[in-house]
């Protein structure tokens, strides 16, 4: 029987290959994703292990609550206690901050999302950097730079350069050029400058503070032993004492959680979509081939094959296809990971990458998913094959008996659809964890896709009768035959279309969803900001140098400038932004959407009152008059009375206090100001004011000024980048569904060989025949496209409504939807190329006598 299965597959090479492709592409994506993210993971571990290679023990501040976006600092004087511990050879405070060299007038900052570091210098026996030229910085005003910077900026030892710091531009002398580790570890595009500790503390307003204290053990003292000794000398529960290795692994894992895991799960989600589409195609292909082989199965039954053997032969076929597709997918995935690595590097998105890693887990996951889904999708067709009666072998034109559950299909579909709807609703409105909500949301969407796929067979005939007329006008008789063919086997056409529906549906959904995010931002700027210019820190989440606000305020043409600062805080179990504002100026630049309170409240906030954004107020279940306990990332606490509530999920999304209440909670010695809203004098020339502000900021390269339009444009361009990535990832699913259309057409043509011979014999030209098949494909793809667009709109609308309190706005993407519909027609035309060619090539006589 195994031999029979293999020979059967071999005799249907094209069909087997097309079926395999359906699952192969999905597995490729899983494999590629896992290989790539394993690589990223390992690269992070390597970077941090190289960084800590010389460090035996690390002392750090324990953050009061989990918040990966904020750095926490410890008191640098703790180093004195550490140095007293027996077995400590060297102990040094260390600060990690962000800034960059300006070499000969050109900014040497990193590109593509990697950080630009300024580190405080460490003695050579703790320092991962070694000078390959010159020396480490020692005196104030001296820096050493990584060799990539030296090369790129043509920086010579001894040259006078400038350093962009939190406190503005500083004059520095380059005294050394550095190599990281032993020079073979990629830092993935990040840049590094070393400066003396005192300078870094002063320029980043971190006097007396340190990111960590690094310790070198005396000879003969092990890392573990030294760690234990330091721990007993520093019993404070808010300090972390780790070995260098533990610290490296922890940092690698934090960074991996931030980057590697997000990439991994996002890509896997899209791979899952591809696999789902593949499952539809495999189900359809097996359904069709089982129907076509009715007589063959019946004959096997008459000569003594049992039902179990028939079942095993069909599932065996799926098993073999799944196995080969998965193996090929794993290999292609390696190629994909390699290609993506190159691509990332080429666009300057330098993910630190090492060699390709194919772990046994990757192989196991790919095989399990690839084979599992193929077999699962073949089970229903296989069960139907077992229901073929032996007597069918003796009858001409025997057809597959309808499944036992066929009558119940609509009922089952409706039940599945309702479950899916409930899942989505729960995912949208429940207050559970994000992962759980996303899972129920996705599960619900899959069930709805399934339900629509099951029900869509009932719309095939109506759709065809609507489309048939115009197609008849355009294509004449051939068009009519094509419509009839598409409607001949509605279930087949429906499932083929459903595969395309999933891809198109998700494309429409992400268009709406991402469009909603964009609209929420631009809408918020229009409705909330009364200011014309916004000064903010470049990069992500940074604070502005102290001098920025005073400098901006005095620019001619500026009517009012209002500084806004913030820090991460914990209230209850949630992390929020605590926003410090200037009550005197804020109402002039920002329009509150009050739920409870008015602008007059601002002046009364003082040191112990707060305004709470509406959705935060409802998740904290507080109302005006209630008192909230706030724990800042600095470890300091405050009690605030809720004075009012307002709605703004975008710009001031957090808990608003008077800046005098914010200051004591900050951990750095800076003001914590991260944004300055600028309102121009109505009589001033807007462009001139912006130029003036730019001029004032020239000494603060970490600050930037944007008009409201520029902010919107920046948000739009960010959003568009994400959209393009989503489209590219979803394109894979659409391509897979095209293979589904190809597969169905090839199988249908095979089935209709005799008919095609007859059509040719009575005078249908090859061109007409090709047109006929093309129209059939187009009808299928229109059904898929229209269903996809409808479901996409439904999902998009539901998610935008569900996340309304987060600011999401439903915008109907008319133009894009028209484009997607045209694209789905094009997809149908493309899918028809190969089948149409095969049909046109059939020899008339041979086709007529085909049995």
């Amino acid at each position: 029987m195994t031999g029979l299965v293999l020979r059967g597959l071999a005799s249907r090479k094209l069909r087997s290959a097309l079926t395999a492709i359906a699952i192969l592409l999905g597995v490729t994506m899983i494999s590629g994703t896992l290989v790539l993210t394993d690589q990223i993971d390992r690269a992070f571990v390597q970077i941090f292990q190289a960084g800590n290679a010389k460090i035996d023990v690390v002392v750090k501040q324990k953050p009061p609550f989990e918040n990966v976006q904020s750095s926490v600092y410890l008191n640098a004087s703790i180093v004195d206690q550490v140095r007293k511990v027996d077995g400590v050879k060297t102990a040094e405070p260390f600060i990690q901050s962000e800034g960059y060299l300006i070499a000969n007038g050109e900014s040497m900052n990193s590109t593509g999302g990697a950080p630009s570091f300024v580190f405080s210098n460490l003695p050579q026996n703790l320092n991962p950097y070694t000078p390959i030229e010159g020396r480490l910085p020692a005196a104030s005003g001296e820096v050493a730079v990584a060799e990539e910077i030296a090369k790129k900026g043509d920086v010579a030892v001894g040259s006078q350069q400038k350093l962009a710091t939190q406190d503005g531009i500083k004059d520095v002398t380059v005294v050394g050029i550095l190599q990281y580790g032993n020079g073979d570890t990629s830092l993935g595009g990040s840049t590094t400058v070393l400066a003396p500790l005192g300078d870094v503390q002063q320029w980043w307003a971190l006097e007396g503070k340190a990111t960590a204290i690094y310790v070198k053990a005396a000879d003969g003292v092990s890392q573990g032993e030294l760690k234990d000794r330091i721990r007993s000398a520093l019993p404070q529960s808010d300090l972390i004492v780790q070995t260098g290795r533990e610290d490296a692994d922890e940092q690698a894992s934090i960074l991996n959680d931030l980057i590697g895991k997000i990439i991994r799960y996002a890509l896997l989600a899209f791979a899952g979509v591809a696999i789902l589409v593949g499952a539809f195609i495999i189900y359809n292909t097996f359904s069709i081939t089982v129907a076509q082989r009715t007589r063959e199965f019946a004959m096997l039954r008459t000569i003594g094959a049992s039902r179990r053997q028939i079942l095993a032969s069909v599932i065996g076929e799926a098993l073999i296809i799944g196995l080969f597709a998965s193996l090929a997918g794993i290999v292609l995935g390696l190629a994909l990971a390699w290609g993506l690595g190159k691509l990332f590097a080429a666009v300057g998105f330098g993910l630190p990458a090492t060699g390709l890693i194919l772990s046994w887990q990757t192989v196991a996951v790919c095989l399990a998913v690839g084979i599992g889904i193929t077999v699962l999708a073949s089970i229903f067709p296989a069960l139907r094959a077992t229901r073929i009666a032996p007597i069918a072998a003796l009858r001409e034109g025997a057809t597959l008996p309808v499944g036992r559950l066929a009558r119940l299909t609509p009922v089952i579909a409706v039940i599945i659809g309702v479950l899916g709807g409930a899942g989505m609703a729960y995912g949208l409105i429940s207050s559970g964890g994000t992962t759980g909500r996303l899972t129920t949301l996705a599960g619900g969407a899959i069930l709805i896709f399934l339900a629509v796929a099951m029900l869509s067979r009932y719309i095939v005939r109506p759709v065809v009768s609507v489309l048939g007329k115009p197609i008849g006008w355009v294509a004449g008789g051939v068009g009519r035959i094509a419509s009839e063919n598409a409607a001949r086997n509605p279930a087949r056409t429906a499932v083929t279309a459903a595969a395309l529906m999933i891809g198109i549906g998700l494309v429409v959904f992400v268009t709406i969803f991402v469009g909603g995010i964009k609209e929420s931002f631009t809408g918020a700027i229009d409705s909330s900001l009364k200011s014309e210019l916004t000064v903010s820190a470049r990069g992500f989440g940074g604070t502005l140098p102290v001098g920025v606000y005073p400098a901006v305020k005095d620019v001619p043409g500026v009517q009012v400038a209002s500084p806004v600062g913030g820090t991460a805080v914990q209230v209850g179990t949630g992390a929020y932004a605590l926003i410090g504002v200037d009550p005197a100026t804020l109402p002039q630049v920002y329009a509150f959407d009050w739920n409870s309170g008015s602008d007059a409240l601002l002046g009364t906030l003082g040191k112990d009152k707060a305004l709470v954004e509406d959705s935060i107020a409802s998740s904290l279940k507080v109302k005006p008059g209630d008192v909230i306990d706030v724990l800042a990332i600095s470890g300091k606490r405050a009690q605030l009375t809720v004075a009012g509530t307002y709605t703004d999920p975008t710009i001031l999304n957090g808990i608003v206090v008077d800046q005098t209440a914010l200051m004591p909670l900050l951990q750095s010695n800076a003001t914590g100001v991260n944004t300055v809203f600028v309102k121009e004098d109505p009589s001033a020339d807007s462009a001139a004011v912006q130029a003036g502000v730019e001029q004032a900021l020239a000494q603060f390269p970490t600050a930037q000024v944007q008009s409201n339009q520029e902010q919107k444009d920046q948000a739009a361009s960010g959003v568009n980048t994400i959209l393009v990535i989503f489209y590219a990832l979803l394109a894979l699913s659409v391509v897979i569904s095209l293979f589904g259309i190809v597969n169905t057409l090839v199988l249908s043509i095979f089935e209709r060989t005799r008919e095609i011979g007859m059509l040719r014999a009575v005078g249908t030209t090859r061109r007409q025949l090709r047109a006929m098949i093309r129209w059939e494909a187009v009808i299928t793809s229109i059904i898929g496209g229209v269903l996809g667009v409808l479901l996409g709109i439904l999902f998009g609308w539901a998610v935008c409504k569900g996340l309304e309190s987060d600011g999401l706005v439903f915008v109907f993407p008319t133009v894009q939807i028209a484009i997607f519909l045209v694209l789905s027609i094009v997809a149908g035309v493309l899918a028809a190329i190969l089948p149409a060619r095969r049909a046109a090539k059939l020899d008339v006589l041979a086709a007529l006598s085909y049995e």
Binding site: L4, R7, S11, M299, T302, I303, G304, A305, S306, Q309
Partner: protein, 253 residues
């Protein structure tokens, strides 16, 4: 399974291989009721070729389907090689077909991707048993396919394909081989080759053949010819010439 191989041995062959008693088959209900078989009682002795004839709708195909366990009668009983078919479930019927029954179809029904030899061995492979090499060699010799054994069905003529099908039916030495219009899709020359092979299977190998046919020249090789009309056996005759058969058919229509 060993019992039927022994039973198929011509030296021991005695008695009836297939016994049908008072078979009725009714399709539909009430006014639309059709009696495809109306109380048929008939036995088929071992080592004979029996041809079943009759006009369309006479019930001859239904009779064969029921005798072969492919269809169930409304009433009556069928014994195949001593086994009562009534009450057998699908699994038991499958095993019975596998061990005791061979089939030859009008449209050959060979697997297109297998060679002639592999097609012949297919039922044994499905049953998971090993063909008797000597017996297989004799059968293959009898088919006269010789060098064409490694060819796929598409490369064989209709007559050759049907001889492969006959050999396939015989390889397991079934108690009985059923033929469903085995010459229905062949011309007179290739028909003759296939019929000669069936005849030889009975005369030389002691097999039992029951075939439904429209073809008077095919029925002329039979040891016994049954004529059905309206679900009843109307004539049960010994060997007849083609012209005698033709005359009988004419009177029935």
């Amino acid at each position: 399974m060993s019992t039927d191989i022994e039973a198929a041995d011509p030296t021991i062959a005695t008695g009836d291989v297939v016994v049908a008693t008072d078979l009725t088959k009714i399709y539909g209900e009430g006014d639309s009721e059709v009696r495809a078989l109306d109380g048929v009682t008939v036995s088929f002795p071992r080592g004979q070729v029996t041809a079943v004839m009759g006009p369309s709708g006479s019930g001859k195909s239904t009779l064969m389907h029921i005798l072969a366990g492919l269809d169930r009668p409304t009433g009556g009983s069928v014994l195949v090689d001593g086994t009562e078919l009534a009450g057998l479930n699908d699994q038991k019927l499958t095993l019975l077909r596998r061990d005791k029954i061979g089939f030859v179809f009008q449209f050959f029904n060979l697997m297109p991707m297998l060679t002639a030899k592999e097609n012949i061995e297919l039922p044994m492979k499905i049953a998971g048993s090993v063909p008797d090499a000597e017996w297989e060699a004799r059968l293959i010799e009898a088919t006269g396919l010789g060098t064409r054994l490694t060819h796929k069905p598409a490369e064989l003529s209709g007559g050759q394909q049907q001889r492969v099908a006959v050999a396939r039916a015989l390889l397991s030495r079934p108690a009985v081989v059923f033929g469903d219009e085995p010459t229905g899709n062949l011309d007179s020359k290739t028909s003759a080759e296939v019929l000669a092979l069936l005849r030889r299977a009975v005369d030389e190998f002691g097999q039992t053949v029951i075939m439904v046919t429209h073809d008077a020249s095919a029925a002329a090789i039979a040891d016994r010819v049954l004529f059905l009309r309206d679900g009843k056996i109307v004539r049960d005759s010994g060997r007849l010439s083609a012209s005698e058969i033709f005359d009988t058919i004419k009177t029935l229509e």
